[in-house]
């Protein structure tokens, strides 16, 4: 089955250059070898069907109205050995801690700008910087209740941070569903593995949310604010609310009276203390941000300012996960914590800098160019896979507005085998790790492994042909 499999010049998580499995994959490798193709094929299909029947679908935009898809699932898990994971955990906690200090600093004394570590204009011209929230007293100075950090491995097998997501990271529910389907349809794969269970994770998350209630309210009324069923991450919202045992609300379910937030129930109004919001800053409150937002709640920011409600993640977090600010995160770690960063960044070129721009424009065919305010894998140039026409379009766009772009060398993302019916082929993966912050930081074991299913593709986003895998952190 793996006879034709080539690791090529990439770091393969499962197989070494000579085709031998790495030690933590040996057991699974043997099991796969013992199963006939037909059975794998049937179980592979059963897994996809299971997602559809459970209604774990996401909506694809720009297509016909009934476009609901499941995220393709591949049954070879991403297995991370315990030691490697423990190092990663430390690095993630360190990084999120520094990012939280940065946000608190930026919206208060701005010491880091005064000390000249980050150019002031980079911060204040960032479209996600919200002067409206300066000096607001955030409970526990906790701006980041939940962070999603996207990690990749380079061709040496070393983890690097590709992106921080500090606004509304999604995908947690898929981690659980991947495991659920995996256990239902591939129970035998778990034999002889001792891995971290996901069962008690929601108590950590609930504790973290309770700990940031305003004025130390005990037993706070926590709600999850969603844009509604038509949002592409709606399943995520609904699943998390259900597992946390909190109410899932839409903007129209809430109202503000006397700078206090209430939800409308069949028995009248009930006070809300903590809002785990899954709508973007711009839509939160039509009185302060986009005036025609139908998703938000009029007066919400006023209640926030009065300290009567916690909004989490904090408002204005986008200034810390901006693609340009990313470059400075290692400096932040040194500045706020006096430590060396445990997980490296990917090298980044700033196109606003004339020298770097010149280099990038001369090497467009070798680099990845990203727009600083885009996400979801859109508006990206992948040099080696691009045509000269597309490179010219980007060249023009960069010259028009260089500050909107950054460039990075093409990273040879690590790969894992993906089942293709007759055989397996190597596909690039990344890992979204989740970090929760309450009284203590907590890293969710494993995370969401995304895989670029198109042959040779580097884009793992589900909107562009990405799939998912289960993620195992071993315990022995």
């Amino acid at each position: 089955m793996f006879k034709t499999y080539k690791t090529e010049s990439f770091f393969d998580e499962m197989l070494q250059q000579q085709g031998q499995p790495r030690s933590h994959y040996q057991v699974l490798y043997n099991r796969l070898a013992s199963l006939p193709h037909d059975e794998l094929q049937n179980r592979h299909e059963a897994a996809q069907q299971n997602f559809l029947r459970q209604g774990i679908t996401f909506t694809v935009y720009h297509e016909n109205q009934d476009s609901e898809r499941t995220i393709p699932f591949d049954f070879i898990p991403n297995i991370i050995p315990k030691d490697e994971w423990q190092n990663l955990e430390k690095g993630l906690i360190q990084r999120v801690k520094a990012l939280n200090l940065f946000l608190d600093d930026i919206y208060n004394s701005q010491q880091i700008l005064k000390d000249g570590l980050i150019p002031r204009d980079l911060v204040v011209t960032c479209s996600h910087f919200y002067p409206q929230v300066t000096k607001i007293k955030v409970p526990r100075r906790n701006h980041i209740f939940m962070a999603g950090v996207d990690l990749i491995k380079d061709d040496q097998g070393e983890f690097r941070v590709l992106e921080d997501n500090l606004r509304n990271p999604s995908g947690l529910s898929y981690v659980f569903q991947n495991r659920y389907v995996m256990r239902q349809i591939f129970p035998d794969f778990f034999q002889d593995y001792d891995i971290n269970s996901l069962e008690n994770q929601f108590s950590h998350i609930h504790e973290a949310l309770s700990s940031i209630a305003p004025n130390g309210v005990s037993n706070p009324n926590i709600v999850l604010l969603t844009p509604g069923v038509y949002n592409s991450a709606y399943f995520d919202h609904s699943f998390i609310a259900q597992q946390l045992g909190i109410e899932l609300v839409e903007g129209r379910d809430l109202l503000v009276r006397d700078r206090t937030v209430y939800m409308k129930t069949t028995r009248g109004l009930r006070r809300v203390d903590v809002i785990y919001r899954r709508i973007d800053d711009d839509y939160l409150d039509p009185l302060e941000f986009l005036p025609d937002s139908m998703l938000g709640v009029a007066g919400l920011m006023d209640a926030y300012r009065a300290g009567n409600v916690t909004i989490s993640n904090g408002v204005g977090n986008g200034v810390a996960d901006d693609k340009a600010i990313y470059h400075y995160v290692p400096s932040m770690i040194r500045y706020y914590l006096g430590e060396e960063p445990l997980i490296k960044n990917v090298e980044t070129y700033f196109l606003r800098d004339p020298e770097q721009r010149q280099y990038v424009l001369a090497n467009l065919d070798k680099l990845v160019v990203k727009q600083t305010n885009a996400s979801g894998g859109y508006n990206m140039l992948i040099g080696p896979q691009s045509t000269s026409e597309i490179r010219e379009i980007f060249r023009k766009k960069i010259q028009q507005n260089p500050a909107n772009f950054i460039a990075q060398p093409v990273i040879k993302l690590s790969r894992l085998p993906v089942f293709r019916g007759e055989n397996f082929s190597g596909c690039h993966i990344d890992l979204r790790a989740f970090v929760f912050n309450g009284e203590h930081p907590h890293v969710f074991p494993g995370g969401l492994t995304r895989v670029a299913l198109k042959e040779g593709s580097l884009i793992v986003n589900s909107s562009q042909g990405g799939g998912a895998k289960d993620t195992w952190v071993t315990q022995d």
Binding site: R53, Q54, G55, R252
Partner: protein, 313 residues
């Protein structure tokens, strides 16, 4: 409970019940038309109140057009497909409230209905579809009973179901009564007609147990209006709505629920105090139309009392 959630529970339940009633209505007509040529397919459209929309799309009331319109048409807001689609959307909006297995059931139901639409259905095979709808609705009700806590959410589902049923029985009776008034009808065809009416609400067996195989218009009407044990008679349904309301309010009448209480009590008393003779003397159509108006008022008062409508403002 959030008002929006109650609203979704209420409409999820009504739409599934509505789809089931429509399926049974067509299925009975379909089977009846095997032995006897049927020329009254327009009655079905009248029962769901869709004549105007139907005539925009089709030239004549033939079997295939009527079934297409009632089952799959997107220009009919009460088509089975549309009802199940809405029920699924409501279920999706409250999937953190209802048990996972119930959500999966409704979700699968939706995909099955859609798949049937895509396949090329014919009059010979479509009854499988209606039987599937009826079974899935029964499964839904069974799962509600077996997996939901008997709290507010359950009560809203139950209330919606009985309101929908009562209204549908009344509409069926109202339209089918016209045909029995036609003097051209002979005895055997009338017998068949009333038997089909009973079947349309799954009441033929219960009726036979009570009245033996002696079917007369008056008795069928009495059975469908006033039987106190048959789950689709109007009196039974209204009794259920009344007791659900009592449970919701713990038997108390508060200021905010006073109007609602008054209306439900009035509707209920009317059925307990009147007899079939009264209804027929008054004129059955008038009697049923008043009841349908009351149902409409009832819906609005429920909205007002539990803020169901308000969230859409």
């Amino acid at each position: 409970m959030l008002s929006r959630v109650s609203n979704s529970l209420y409409w999820m339940s009504r739409n599934i019940e509505r789809a089931e009633n429509t399926a049974r209505l067509i299925s009975v007509r379909l089977i009846g038309s095997i032995e006897h040529e049927e020329n009254h397919w327009d009655e079905l459209i009248s029962i769901i109140g869709g004549n105007e929309a139907f005539e925009k799309k089709f030239d004549r009331y033939d079997a295939k057009s009527v079934m297409d319109f009632m089952s799959f048409s997107s220009s009919n807001p009460n088509s089975i497909l549309h009802c199940i689609k809405l029920a699924r959307e409501d279920a999706r909006a409250i999937r953190e409230i209802i048990p996972q297995e119930l959500w999966e059931m409704i979700n699968s139901f939706y995909w099955d209905v859609r798949q049937f639409k895509q396949e090329n259905w014919s009059i010979d095979t479509i009854d499988h579809f209606y039987q599937m709808i009826i079974r899935q609705s029964a499964l839904f009700q069974g799962m509600v009973e077996a997996t939901l806590s008997f709290d507010e959410a359950y009560l809203f589902i139950k209330m919606a179901k009985f309101i929908e049923r009562a209204e549908k029985t009344s509409r069926i009776l109202n339209i089918y009564y016209y045909r029995s008034e036609d003097p051209d009808h002979n005895d055997p065809s009338l017998y068949r007609h009333w038997f089909a009416v009973l079947q349309s609400v799954s009441g033929h067996e219960a009726y036979l147990k009570r009245h033996r195989p002696f079917i007369s218009g008056e008795r069928v009407i009495e059975f469908l209006l006033f039987d106190d044990a048959f789950p689709r008679s109007i009196q039974y349904c209204i009794d259920q709505v009344y007791s659900v309301f009592q449970e919701l309010e713990n038997g108390k009448i508060e200021h905010y629920s006073e109007d609602l209480h008054q209306l439900i009590a009035l509707m209920r008393n009317r059925f307990h105090e009147m007899t079939v003779v009264d209804a027929l003397t008054e004129d059955l159509h008038q009697f049923l139309q008043r009841f349908q108006q009351d149902c409409f008022k009832l819906g609005r008062l429920i909205n007002k009392t539990y803020y169901l409508g308000e969230v859409y403002v």
